[in-house]
């Protein structure tokens, strides 16, 4: 397989994101439509049902630096959330504590990351964790 360069890979992801992915519970897009380097992205996760996150909307900040997709993106939660892999002072997702980032593979995408984070929210050890007030931010 040919190695798709970073920019064409991100363009593909952007187009997919614009069309809408899956059931709409996760979405993402460029923070600034002028960003020709496509470094800064916004993400949104709708909290999974039947958990403490139900009906909450979480905003995230995603950075795809020049090493993406060989290296994983850097993820920050903007909305406050209590999950073990999210730093409680600045909202940064600890890449060593989230499997999808720790075992990064070039074929993973922003979609993979968001869907995995959402899945973690619904995992038995996280679904009932007490949460900060809805709408509060880091």
């Amino acid at each position: 397989m040919a190695r798709v360069p970073r920019s064409f890979r991100l363009l593909e992801e952007l187009e997919k994101g614009e069309k809408g992915i899956g059931d709409g519970s996760c979405s993402y897009g460029l923070e600034d439509g002028d960003d020709i380097l496509m470094t800064h992205w916004n993400g949104t996760i709708i909290g999974p049902g039947h958990t403490v996150h139900e009906n909450r909307i979480y905003s995230l900040k995603i950075e795809c630096n020049e090493n993406y997709p060989d290296a994983p993106p850097i993820i920050h939660f903007l909305s406050r959330v209590n999950i073990p892999f999210v730093n409680q002072t600045n909202g940064k997702v600890d890449p060593t504590r989230l499997a999808v980032l720790a075992n990064w593979n070039r074929n993973y995408s922003l979609e993979t990351v968001l869907v995995e984070i959402r899945r973690e929210m619904a995992a038995s050890q996280n679904r009932k964790l007490p949460q900060p007030a809805e709408g509060s931010t880091f």
Binding site: M1, A2, R3, V4, P5, S7, L11, G33, I36
Partner: protein, 148 residues
């Protein structure tokens, strides 16, 4: 993955017998990925500019078209803010008989002949349709600012 004979030949020829005003050099670590420079054609607002592009040949090439994008900011109705190009031969009018050089020539031709009726950057296209002279002035300004 072994590079196809076709890509090798095309690359050889691009280097040995380059098209005037167009330069395409493959990356050392990815021979399907090219750094491209196109000179703005004479007699249009892009004249004198040197535009950077990137081009990638997907696995299916030449059955599928190459992927091309402008890296230099450009004010053109068929090129959007991210440098994506709206050109029929890069989409449904692709023919496997086309080559990298013909694609780049077509892009160069697109610079001198913008088509505001099939826009990708709608605001620019609107500008071109309503006041072509003023739009060309902006195109020229951008060429001066970003493509020098």
């Amino acid at each position: 993955m072994a590079l196809s004979k076709r890509i090798i030949k095309e690359t050889e020829r691009l280097i040995a017998d380059p098209v005037p005003g167009i330069q395409a050099v493959p990356h050392e670590d990815n021979l399907r990925y090219f750094d491209v420079k196109i000179d703005g054609p004479a007699g249009c607002p892009f004249e004198g500019g040197k535009f950077s592009l990137e081009l990638f040949l997907p696995d299916e090439y030449p059955m599928s078209p190459p992927k091309v994008r402008f890296l230099t900011k450009i004010y053109h109705p068929n090129i959007d803010k991210l440098g994506r190009i709206c050109l029929d031969i890069l989409k449904d009018k692709w023919s496997p008989a086309l080559q990298i050089r013909t694609v780049l020539l077509s892009i160069q031709a697109l610079l001198s002949a913008p088509n505001p009726d099939d826009p990708l950057a709608t605001d620019v296209a609107k500008h071109y349709k309503e006041d072509e002279r003023d739009a060309q002035r902006v195109s020229k300004e951008w060429t001066e600012k970003y493509a020098k």
